[in-house]
Each structure stands twice: as C-alpha cells, then as structure tokens.
Symmetry: C2
Subunit: 241 residues, 2 copies
DNA sequence: CGTCGCATTGAAGGTTGTCAATGAGAGTGG
DNA sequence: CCACTCTCATTGACAACCTTCAATGCGACG
C-alpha cells in the first residue's frame, strides 16, 4: 500500500496526499511539501473493519493515524462491563495521542475505516521540531474538549427523547458538514447498542425513542441504519438545542 | 494589589511569583525569570467572591488568569434553564482560552477565589513567541479532556449513589493531591444544587445519597459542607472506580 | 424571635431499565 | 428454493430508580 512516487520532485505532493482531506483540514495542512514527502515515505494507508480495535495492543502503540474515511468511536469501560462512548472521530481527525498517554480510552472502528498511519517515532520527532504541528494538535484537542462538554450537557440534563434527537442531529451535521438545505439523509455509523452507549441509555430506550420520532414524522428509517430527516429544524427542536 | 518589587534584578523572581504554585505546576513554569518579570509587570492579583461570574462580560474577555486559590466551575446552560457543570478548575489551573473562543461555557467562582490576571494581548503575544507556552496550555487542555471524558462515564453510566461517591472522591483527591493516608477531610467547594448540576441529578437526590453514605458510615458530615472520609477505599468502592 | 437560604425528608408519579418475546434481514446449507 | 440460524431491532409488561412536589429542619443574620 506504500504507493508513493519515488521520483517525486521536492515541491510536489505525494500522490496519496493530493486528494487527502487531512492535507486541507487535518494535521497535514501545516506541513510543507517537503515535510509531507518525508512523512509519506513512512506512512501507509490501510483499512480496518467495523468493530476492530485500533488502540490497546494492536495499532496505536506504535503508530498514529489520520482518518481518511469512516467513523472511529472512543469508549471507556467500567470493571463490571458498563460502557460509555466518550467521543466520535471523523475524517480528517488525527488518531492517537502524542505527548501523553491515553487515559483508559479505547479506540474502535465504528464503521469500516480507512487510515493513513505513520510511525510514532517519526511523528514525535516532527512535533518536537515544528510548533505549528503541536498547534494543530492543540486545536483538535480543543475541538474534542468542546464536543465532550457539549455531550456532558446532553448526558447529564437531557431526556431520552432529546438525547436521541441530539445524536441524530450530530450525525446529520457530520454527514453533510456544509449543509445548506433543511433536510438531510445519512447512514447511522453505528448500531442501537452503540448509540445507547453514547447516550447513556439502553438499546430498548433508544429504539423506542427512534420509533417515536418516526411515528411523529420527524425522521424516516430505512433498513434500520438509513435515516432521512425531512426538516432539520423540527429535529433540532426535539434535541432542545 | 500590584505588589511587585520594581527594583527587581533580572535573574530574580517577582516576589508574588516566588511562592506561587503556578510557577511550579502551572503555566508560569515554562517562563524564564526575565519573562516572569515582564509578565508580572502587567499582572495583578485579585479576589472574586463565590458565585461571581468570571467570564462573559466581566473578566475574561480582556484577560486571562491563573487560579491562585479556590475553585472555579465551568457550566453550560440550556434555553429552558437546565444547567450542567462541565468542569471544575483548581489552583494552579489557567483560566481562559487563548487561540480559541469559548464554546458557550460560563466560568463562575464556586468558592471565593484568588486570581492572578494578565492582559489578553500580552499573553497572546508570549504564546505566539514561545512554543513551550502553547505546549503547556496543550497539556492542560489534554488534562481537561481526560477529566471531561471520565465524567462522561460517570454521567452516562453510573447510578446516583455512585455519582455522589465519585464526586466526593474527586474533591477528596483534589483537596490533598499527594495523599498517602487512607482517610481524608475537606470542605465541599459547592452547594448541593451545584453538586446536582455537576452530577446530572436533583438537589434532593444528592441529599438523599449523601445521607445514605453518612448512615453507612462511609462519610461524616459537619455543617453541610465539611466532610470526613475515614476510609477512602470504601468510598472508592461506592464510586465503582 | 422571625425570616431567609439551604438542606433534609416523605409521598407519589413518571421515565427509564430489565426481562422476555417477537420480528426482520442476511447468510448458510440442505 | 426453502428452512434454519444468527444477529440486531422492536415491542410489551413490569419494576426500579430518580424526579417532582410539598413539608419540615437547621443555622445565620437582623
């Protein structure tokens, strides 16, 4: 998969990077063409199936990744098995944590994902050399913090019905980031069980609230995973935004 | 309050900084003595009473602060008045958010607090000049993210009883950071109402769970605010850590 | 002593969780 | 092609937990 042109001119981008979102909105945006070439020499694209664990023993201990496509869920688990999803990451988010070890969080592919991974050591070195890179990581961390705090309000103070509506709205806005229309249409990146773990609810409650929203005409559900929202503002009302 | 020796030698620390925790564990730890002197020329110590709002219109728009003593609560509010506390900050945390505007979070003094404030502009300039400063801020942001995610697990998956125990444990560990003994003894930094807003519970539920813990001998309560924990491990069991 | 703010306690009701049964869809093998 | 199974989602009945509403208690302060 290490498909980078070897004869690339310094001022040219590696082929893989040209159409990559991370180059625009992600971490790689702060790298110069030469740096990109240098990093891409060690980087490799690869996929991971839904459900596959991305941190822990397997991947992340030795490498970091950009998410090229798909959704990654970050979760925490209690000793007795209770679980809470504490974050969702979408392309072009950076996966992994330089400078600091993970705090009991497990990363798992929620959908099939495509990753672009680089060895930990090379990345760590670049971060130490380039303050802009740390700045970019800091920005992502601030985003994650804002999202976590928004979700704390949802977890602590919203009803089950509002929680489910908030979740659907979150996915809708991430599916079409620059959405202008007031309708939306997307696939849920995870099962009812995962949604429950994200919202602090049981599967059954999630299911009941989804059917309630469906019967009220706020959403249309196809094949369990596909959702159509004819009027996003009505959904936003239910989310108590 | 601007009590800094004017004739200070470059290699000496400003008097105010000498005994300040921020110099050791906080933001100021990455500053050289000269930089400390430069910053301290514009900084001022001042207090704020419990309940006073620290961001919004008053303070933080024009300045950042280090918390010298006391506890600051960060909260989010919904349109209908429901409220969730999304973070607690203790000395020597940095208050304010360079590089990024706050995301609908209000900072309020939970207890009486003592702050050391600097003008936004001077701080922003130093951050741009000193990557170590941004690194330090990044570290604090990572800490806050870890805390937020820990709390998401508490909010989403713990019972009322476990929530209250978790809260008491949180305060106990922050009261004596380097605690070796298995007992602890502290003042709660906030009212039952605030605790409820932190835990996603009502005042009444908080109160009932506190009395339950009291009747079981896990905590002793004096004057509503003072708590003694004879055996922290028993409390930790209740927190389901 | 009366009032005010905060905390506790009690009773009743609602929301959500638990347990159990059923349904829907995908893949498998006869 | 049609059972068969497996997984995931839905639905129902009931119980538990937490909230709501209301009353009482307690300490501080005038």
């Amino acid at each position: 998969m290490d498909f980078v042109r070897k004869d690339v001119h310094n001022s040219e981008l590696p082929v893989l990077c040209r159409s990559c979102e991370s180059r625009h909105r992600g971490i790689c945006g702060v790298l110069s063409p030469e740096q990109l070439v240098r990093l891409s020499r060690h980087s490799s694209r690869h996929g991971a199936g839904a459900g596959q664990e991305l941190s822990g023993e397997s991947l992340e201990t030795k490498s970091y990744s950009n998410i090229i496509s798909g959704v990654v869920k970050l979760s925490k688990m209690m000793a007795d098995g209770r679980q809470q999803i504490v974050g969702l990451q979408f392309a072009p988010d950076f996966l992994g944590r330089p400078l600091r070890q993970e705090n009991g969080v497990t990363a798992e592919a929620a959908t099939d994902v495509e990753l672009c991974s680089f060895p930990k050591a090379a990345m760590d070195r670049m971060i130490r050399e380039m303050p802009e890179l740390e700045h970019k990581l800091h920005e992502q961390t601030l985003n994650e913090l804002d999202e976590a705090r928004d979700w704390m309000l949802t977890l602590g103070r919203k009803t089950a019905s509002e929680k489910v509506a908030s979740f659907l709205l979150l996915i809708a806005t991430h599916a079409d980031p620059e959405l202008e229309t007031d309708c939306s249409d997307f696939d849920l990146p995870m099962s009812r069980g995962d949604i429950g773990d994200f919202l602090g609810l049981t599967i059954e409650t999630v299911s009941r609230q989804m059917t309630k929203l469906r019967k009220e005409g706020i959403i249309i559900i196809d094949h369990n995973r596909h959702v159509v929202v004819p009027d996003l503002s009505r959904l936003a009302d239910r989310a108590a935004i």
